[in-house]
């Protein structure tokens, strides 16, 4: 069949394809941490090949009607169901106008074939430090809708992602959707540096609200530490406007204040340098828009 290497086969599991949310919850109650939910499978199948996960039950949620919802009620933000793929989000155009920061982050995830299968919720739940959706979602103040045996709860994405491959989710719980509050009159952008691989070595998501006295900036760095990091200092530096001076200051502060880790992909010192580069790049682009 394959070449006998563990990297080409999958561990044994039973496959389930429920069509309603109740069915999914029933299966989760029954199998608990023996089960894994599968959206597009691009993460789970890869993890299983590496034997990082060996669930006895795989629950495919692609056909679950309730999870395919993509709602944008006027003035009420956006609700993205767990089975909505990245392609659906990008091609539907719902992100283009107000949620540019997320559009830019998702448009550069892997390649179009992967994006056709991958879901936003799957990308978020992988909680691998270098995935690109969490910084963008945190910049947008997004929340995660969770349902489980104890009922429903909502947590901010910033608290949901606790560490590498560590999320705030019980064994019988599941994420049903990501909610993004309405954005008005704001500007957003995303930038990443991948060094020619497909993994971000450093990424940044920026949101700027321009109007009125209540100016706010939100700057979130990804892929430099175990979880995304907001930088109050960088936000302070640009909140009164993106100018050549404030860009320089923001870049220096990012490099100085944001804590970076050494790992197999890059050294902390290199990441510090990249923070400067991507901060300048993203802010200059926003300045010229």
């Amino acid at each position: 069949m394959s070449f006998g290497s563990p990297y080409t086969t999958l561990p044994d599991f039973e496959y389930h394809r429920p069509t309603s949310l109740d069915e999914v919850l029933g299966l989760l109650r029954q199998y608990g941490d023996e089960a894994k939910l599968m959206g597009g499978g691009v993460g789970l199948i890869a993890f299983m090949k590496e034997r990082l996960m060996s669930p006895a039950h795989v629950i495919d949620v692609k056909e679950v009607k309730e999870l395919k919802m993509l709602n944008s009620p006027p003035g009420k933000g956006l609700s993205i169901g767990a089975a909505v793929t990245l392609s659906e989000l990008l091609e539907g155009g719902v992100l283009k106008k107000d949620y540019t920061v997320l559009h830019e982050a998702l448009a550069r995830v892997a390649d179009p074939m992967i994006r056709r299968r991958a879901t936003l919720v799957g990308n978020l739940c992988e909680a691998i430090p270098w995935v690109d959706s969490p910084p963008a979602l945190i910049a947008l103040d997004a929340t995660v809708a969770i349902v489980g045996p104890e009922g429903k709860r909502t947590v901010p994405v910033s608290g949901f992602v606790r560490g590498p491959v560590d999320i705030d989710l019980g064994p019988s719980e599941m994420v049903t959707a990501v909610g993004i509050p309405q954005v008005k009159g704001a500007q957003g952008a995303f930038e990443k540096f991948t060094g020619g691989s497909e993994f971000s070595l450093a990424s940044v998501a920026v949101m700027m609200s321009n109007g009125g006295r209540n100016r706010k900036a939100r700057v979130v760095y990804g892929a430099v530490n175990s979880t995304p990091i907001r930088s109050a200092q960088v936000e302070e530096a640009i909140k009164d406007g993106i100018t050549p001076g404030s860009v320089r200051k923001a870049a220096d502060l990012a490099s100085e204040k944001v804590e970076c880790v050494d790992d197999v992909l890059a050294t902390a010192a290199y990441r510090k340098h990249l923070l400067k580069v991507i901060t300048v790049k993203v802010l200059r682009r926003m300045m010229s828009q």
Binding site: S2, L10, D12, F13, G41, D111, M113, I114
Partner: protein
């Protein structure tokens, strides 16, 4: 074990499979469609690409059971009556295959690109095929082949950037 029925290139193929079997293994080993190549097994090289319900997917990241009752098309399924498609002829003319290992995936992906976007720009081509690799490096020849098909359809002159590539 369970029985699945996959419509491969227009023909229903029934086989017994295990739940943990990949679509890639189903195609190559169970029904012996060998144009679908197994290389990286982790969704990076794109050489196992097939069309499932009209969309390009990497079959090493799809479970065989997911393809049950679905329409799967490989490079064998895009030509009519044994005639080469325009992009296949263009690949031949431009030498867009060297060792040939990745060619089925590239033909499928560029065929699909030209179907959905008959006049792709260079950027469209790069984006659409960013999930595929060719270790022989025939990217320029592939680009020329795509440009030729695109231009034959309108009778337009080769675009400047492509003409430049051609002279190199």
């Amino acid at each position: 074990m369970r029985e699945i029925s996959v419509i491969v290139n227009g023909r229903a193929r029934k086989r017994m499979i295990k739940d943990n079997e990949l679509l890639l293994d189903f195609l190559r080993e169970k029904i012996e469609v060998r144009s679908v190549k197994a290389a990286c097994w982790r969704g990076e090289c794109g050489l196992c690409t097939v069309l499932m319900d009209g969309h390009l997917v990497k079959s090493c990241l799809v479970l065989a059971v997911e393809a049950d009752r679905r329409d799967v098309r490989t490079v064998e399924g895009i030509a009519d009556d044994g005639e080469l498609t325009p992009i296949q002829s263009a690949f031949v003319r431009h030498g867009a295959a060297q060792c040939g290992f990745c060619t089925p995936a590239w033909v499928l992906a560029t065929h699909e690109l030209l179907r959905s976007n008959p006049h792709p720009s260079d950027a469209d081509l790069v984006e659409a095929t960013s999930g595929l690799v060719c270790r022989c490096g025939t990217y320029n020849q592939i680009r020329e082949a795509v440009a030729e098909v695109s231009e034959t359809k309108t009778g337009r002159q080769p675009r400047e950037s492509l003409a430049r590539t051609h002279r190199q």
